[in-house]
Amino acid sequence: MTAVITDPFDPAPRIVPVLHNVPACELAVVKELTVSEFSLAATVWKDYHETNGDPAQDRIFGVFLDGVLVSLARCRRHGGGLEVDGIWTLPSHRGHRFSSMAVGALVEACHYDDLYMYAVSHLTGFYVRFGFIPIPEKDLPATIRERYTWAAGNLEGAEVQPMVRKAGIGTIFLPS
């Protein structure tokens, strides 16, 4: 059995043997998507509010397994700051730490800016591992806050928690 591995430094996919006792995350490759790969992201995000990437303001980080995009994280540049969202793994590929790989890549790539997000409430612990801390909604930049205007301040009802990862907080050397 073989797998196609897309390496950021090797445009030609490599064929490597898949070992049955090797964890899937060790065979996966994480990379930042090129503009031509944004359409792949749109396919993966189809079940995630039909999200679409915009190359003019987004950096998207994806995990490829056997040459197939299975997990995503997006960093969107707003007027007032950078927002992390679109963290999504195909239901068929969950449980292999692919989201950790995508978010880890995003944090490594974008950690020189403050990163804001609306985290799903029960996942705040996951993001704390990457240096995010919960904050009151008023501390979010206005341009990012606009997205949840419909909740009228009742974020508990919407089951989301505003969080921030401050630039320059130190360790970026997350477990790979």
Partner: protein, 472 residues
């Protein structure tokens, strides 16, 4: 043939003669029409015809416009007194009409004077430009010929203005041919095969030529650059061309190139000889490893081999230094440059991540060498680094490529000397990196904290980077 009228220089110029004749004819016709109208009992409509000679005279000759309007209105007033029916209402209307005629003449004269001043300023700017400059209109006639081009060609402005049929080219090439302005006005495509010396730089056409017949046969290297003159609707109305004498620069560059070639030849010979000697040394070392079993001797041989490796790297660095700046800068994909750099290093168990996928920088093509020398230090076992990350950060002043590791870092006291030429091998690669990036205005600094890791920041000016799909 028209004989000149002594003392009337204005009237002796064909263009002015035509204008003056037109104004006189218009004046006579309109006054005649008014006289006829008054006799026929028409006193209201025909007086408006007087605007035509007044407006034309005031526009073409602003200094005399008001006086001319006054004269025309006076003649009209006289005709009214002599030939129009004597009615109080008509007198009032006539008086107000006379005032309006004079007022129109005055306003047009004022506007025309301001316009003429503005045009004169533009001509003065072109006239005093340090570069030889001329311009042509859509028909190819010369409309500007400044002092610098007079000095360069010996052809005076007075004799050149208004000339067509590629007269400007005679001054440079001794033959009539379309120069860059001619090509622009002609709207021709510029085939590279026909004009290999011409290149397009943004909206300009540029070419550099040696003209052997220039300066009395001494010859000159000239740089020509031309651009279209367009109206508010974007239509080409003419073109302007500047010519700069670059003979001194070309001679200096040629001399430098010759010197550089000699030095390169010398350093090439030295590199070749050193490589041969090193090959012999490596051979002896291999034999030594096979011949001796004593661990102390083996350790000694390994030490010599490491020194030989260092010399080999110095030779490589010297070869790279010879090549930098030799190829013109270009847009370089940063991720590929990191890939090429890492491909030259044995990274061992160190994890390396580069997050620069869509970034391109305008750089000397040796950008991978820059990354190689930065990464080479981080990958050394003695730094203790287990992970290296490269990313970029967009800042108000441009973009920073940041390469950081989690090794021991660089002591504060060593940072200042990192990028200057030094005797030891550590600094020389970084000196080379600094030299390469500075070609396109980039800078480099080390901002890590000793004990926590090294961090190199390459700062790219705003115009020197772009991110695919980001419109920047």
């Amino acid at each position: 043939m028209t004989l000149p009228i002594p003392g009337y220089t204005l009237f002796n110029t064909p263009r002015h003669r035509h204008r003056i004749m037109l104004i006189l004819v218009l004046s006579l016709v309109t006054i005649g029409a008014n006289l006829f109208g008054m006799i026929a009992g028409i006193t209201l409509v025909l007086s408006h015809l007087l605007y035509f000679p007044i407006i034309l005279a005031s526009y073409w000759y602003p200094r005399r416009g008001l006086l001319f309007a006054f004269v025309i209105t006076s003649i009209y007033a006289l005709l009214v007194v002599l030939f129009a029916p004597a009615e109080p209402l008509l007198n009032i209307i006539t008086l107000s009409r006379l005032a309006i005629l004079v007022l129109v003449g005055g306003i047009v004269a004022l506007l025309a004077r301001n316009l003429a001043q503005s045009e004169q300023q533009l001509h003065d700017i072109i006239d005093f430009l340090p570069d030889a400059t001329f311009a042509i209109d859509r028909e190819g006639k010369i409309i500007a010929w400044n002092r610098a081009v007079e000095e360069m060609t010996g052809r005076m402005k007075g004799e050149m203005l208004g000339q067509g049929n590629f007269e400007y080219a005679l001054a440079f090439y001794g033959e009539r041919r379309p120069m860059l302005v001619g090509l622009i006005v002609g709207g021709e495509e510029i085939p590279e095969k026909k004009y290999p010396a011409i290149r397009r730089e943004s909206e300009k056409l540029v070419s550099e030529l040696f003209l052997p017949q220039f300066y009395g046969g001494r010859g000159a290297h000239l740089r020509f650059s031309a651009t279209a003159l367009v109206d508010t609707r974007g239509n080409v109305t003419g073109a302007i061309e500047s010519i700069r004498d670059i003979t001194d620069q070309v001679m200096t560059a040629t001399a430098l190139e010759n010197t550089s070639n000699r030095l390169n030849t010398l350093s090439g010979i030295l590199r070749h000889d050193l490589s041969r000697k090193l090959a012999v040394l490596y051979g002896h070392l291999r034999l030594g490893v096979m011949k001796f079993n004593d661990p102390d001797v083996i350790t000694f041989i390994v030490g010599i081999k490491e020194s030989a490796n260092g010399i080999m790297r110095q030779i490589e660095t010297s070869r790279e230094y010879r090549d930098i700046g030799a190829t013109p800068p270009a847009w370089v994909p940063v991720q590929e440059a990191f890939g090429a750099a890492v491909g030259r290093i044995d990274i061992g168990r160190v994890v390396f991540h580069a997050w620069t996928e869509r970034l391109e920088v305008f750089s000397d093509p040796h950008l991978p060498t820059v990354f190689y020398h930065i990464l080479h230090n981080s990958f050394k076992a003695e730094t203790g680094a287990t992970k290296i990350i490269a990313t970029y950060h967009i800042r108000p002043e441009g973009c920073a490529i940041i390469i950081e590791d989690n090794g021991t870092g660089i002591p504060e006291m060593q940072k200042a000397a990192l990028f200057i030429q030094r005797e030891d091998s550590y600094g020389r690669g970084l000196f080379l990196a600094h030299e390469i990036i500075s070609i396109t205005g980039m800078t480099i600094r080390e901002t890590g904290i000793y004990g926590k890791g090294a961090r190199f920041e390459i700062i790219i000016p705003s115009e020197g980077y772009r991110v695919e799909g980001m419109g920047k």
